[in-house]
């Protein structure tokens, strides 16, 4: 038995609202890896979606989450890079700037809360690489996905802005590639890997955001990937749930299954698609499941 890893689990808004497939599969694989998750009580939106209205509002919302999580004495683990980035940035700004910390704490004190700056925040990709470790992940693989070719989309907020995230190189993000390769699958390269999914402006201008989706899916298709792998709920919504909308808008067919990394990892751990929320996916994943079936029967 390795060291037990324990975190307070922060869900954010997008995942409970419509991306259960990510949550189900993440909980399964983390459990298999011996990670202990404490459900975070009384959390609210991280504040990122409201930052265009008021930076101060975002600081208060994220500081409230941090203050509540601090009471558990555990570091935060979250599946959403947007939440991770926002909480990390606020954590850092308030730790470094005493006047700002006091100002934000004045707001929180109305509800009996205080930000102390005593914990850290990690996105699942960072926790998998830094805490749980590749060795433990590789040991848990019982069905290596040899022969599978997938493309990765790391997403902007996993690494940007570098100054506040500091875990990845935004110009050449590697974490997701390393994690994919640990499953035995091949991670193929394609044009424009670091391009944005457009989710944050989907409600403002869907032509622009779906143009970004289209471009990405065409490049992934050109690279001959069996699937696109994401590790962010918002990116996943854009490429999976909105793939058909992009197909309609541009009169094209992409047919790219989009999996959460945790679903891919779960398959490699020998779990069944039904356990990993595959039925929640909008783009039919049978193509990739058949390929894995092939791989298995050849093995």
């Amino acid at each position: 038995m390795g060291v037990a890893h324990k975190y307070v689990f922060y869900l954010g808004c997008a995942i409970p609202y419509r991306v259960s497939s990510f949550e189900v599969s993440a909980r399964k694989v983390l459990d298999r890896l011996g990670v202990d998750l404490l459900e975070m009580p009384d959390f609210n939106c991280c504040g990122l979606p409201l930052e265009p209205l008021s930076h101060e509002l975002t600081l208060i919302l994220s500081a409230r989450n941090l203050a509540i999580a601090e009471q558990t004495g555990l570091n935060i683990l979250t599946l959403c890079p947007g939440c991770a980035g926002t909480l990390k940035k606020t954590n850092r700004l308030l730790k470094e700037n005493r006047a700002l910390r006091e100002e934000i704490n004045k707001h929180l004190s109305g509800a009996g809360l205080e930000f102390k700056g005593s914990i850290d925040v990690k996105h699942i990709s960072q926790a998998l690489i830094e805490d749980i470790g590749l060795d433990a992940i590789k040991r848990a693989i019982v069905r290596p996905l040899k022969g599978l070719r997938v493309a990765k989309h790391s997403g902007c907020h996993l690494s940007r802005p570098k100054k506040y995230i500091g875990f990845e190189d935004p110009e050449n993000p590697k974490a997701l590639r390393i994690l994919i390769e640990a499953t035995g699958a091949r991670c193929v390269e394609y044009l424009g890997e670091t391009e944005c999914c457009g989710s944050t402006i989907a409600a403002i201008d869907d032509k622009i955001s779906l143009s970004l989706v289209r471009e990405k899916l065409l490049h992934v298709k050109e690279a001959g990937a069996d699937a696109l792998i994401t590790i962010c709920p918002a990116c996943h919504i854009m490429y999976d749930a909105n793939q058909m909308r992009a197909e309609r808008m541009f009169g094209e067919k992409y047919g790219i299954p989009v999996l959460h990394y945790t679903q891919l990892l779960g398959l490699a751990m020998g779990m069944q698609p039904e356990e990993l929320g595959f039925e929640e996916l909008r783009v039919n994943p049978s193509k990739i499941l058949e390929r894995i079936g092939e791989v298995k029967s050849r093995a």
Binding site: L11, C13, P16, Y17, R18, S20, V24, R27, E39, M40, D42, F43, N44, C45, P49, L50, E51, P52, L53, S54, H55, E56, L57, I60, L61, R64, K106, H107, G110, A111, G112, L113, C156, H157, R160, P161, K162, K163, P170, E171, T194, E195, C196, G198, S199, T200, I201, A202, A203, I204, K207, I208, L210, S211, L212, I237, A241, N242, R245, G277
Partner: protein, 181 residues
């Protein structure tokens, strides 16, 4: 007076740049030397005729307050932070643009979708109202119930922030605005 002349004389507000640098995120506005890195690397600019971050920065420097704060293009920034990471002057470009959005919001110039998500936040703690069907689906998938958000506590933490002003100007049709496409 022709439209152009009107634009030149009445629309320029030389004090505007000093207002921007006082807003959190806008501090480095004056460091921009207009190299164009932000625009050339901006994913939104590639698919938009009107969204150009360098131009927004320049207009703010020059004091074209109305044109910037009243624009719809301001809200097209996807907050991907590519520009922030690549600006050779070390300007957090996306934060300058956010500061400008915050200024527009203070004046009540807000796209409907933000009023909807703020309304949801005050009601539920999330930017969404999580539908009953999703709650049941979570159960069926074996997921734990969502924690109850202490809405009064959240409201107390926000009471000294003048966020009502964002809601007061709320358009009637805002409940129809879509959050995700």
């Amino acid at each position: 007076m022709s439209k152009d002349a009107e634009f030149k004389t009445s629309r320029i507000n030389p004090k505007f740049r000093y207002e921007v640098v006082k807003v959190p995120g806008g501090e480095n506005l004056l460091h921009c030397f207009q190299c164009g890195t932000c625009t050339s690397d901006c994913p939104v600019a590639r698919f938009s005729e009107k969204y150009r971050p360098r131009l927004i920065i320049r207009m703010a420097q020059l004091g074209l307050k109305e044109r910037v704060l009243n624009s719809d293009f301001l809200w097209l920034c996807a907050s991907c932070f590519t520009c922030t990471d690549r600006c050779p002057q070390g300007i957090e470009v996306a934060s300058v643009i956010r500061a400008l959005k915050n200024m527009a919001a203070m004046e009540g110039r807000i796209p409907d979708v933000f009023k909807v998500i703020l309304g949801n936040l005050l009601k539920t703690g999330y930017i969404y109202e999580i539908p009953e069907s999703r709650v049941r689906r979570r159960e069926a998938l074996g997921l734990p119930p969502l924690p109850k958000v202490n809405i009064e506590g959240l409201a107390k933490s926000l009471q000294n922030l003048d966020i009502k002003r964002f809601l007061e100007v709320s358009a009637q049709k805002s409940s129809e605005a879509k959050i995700w496409v």
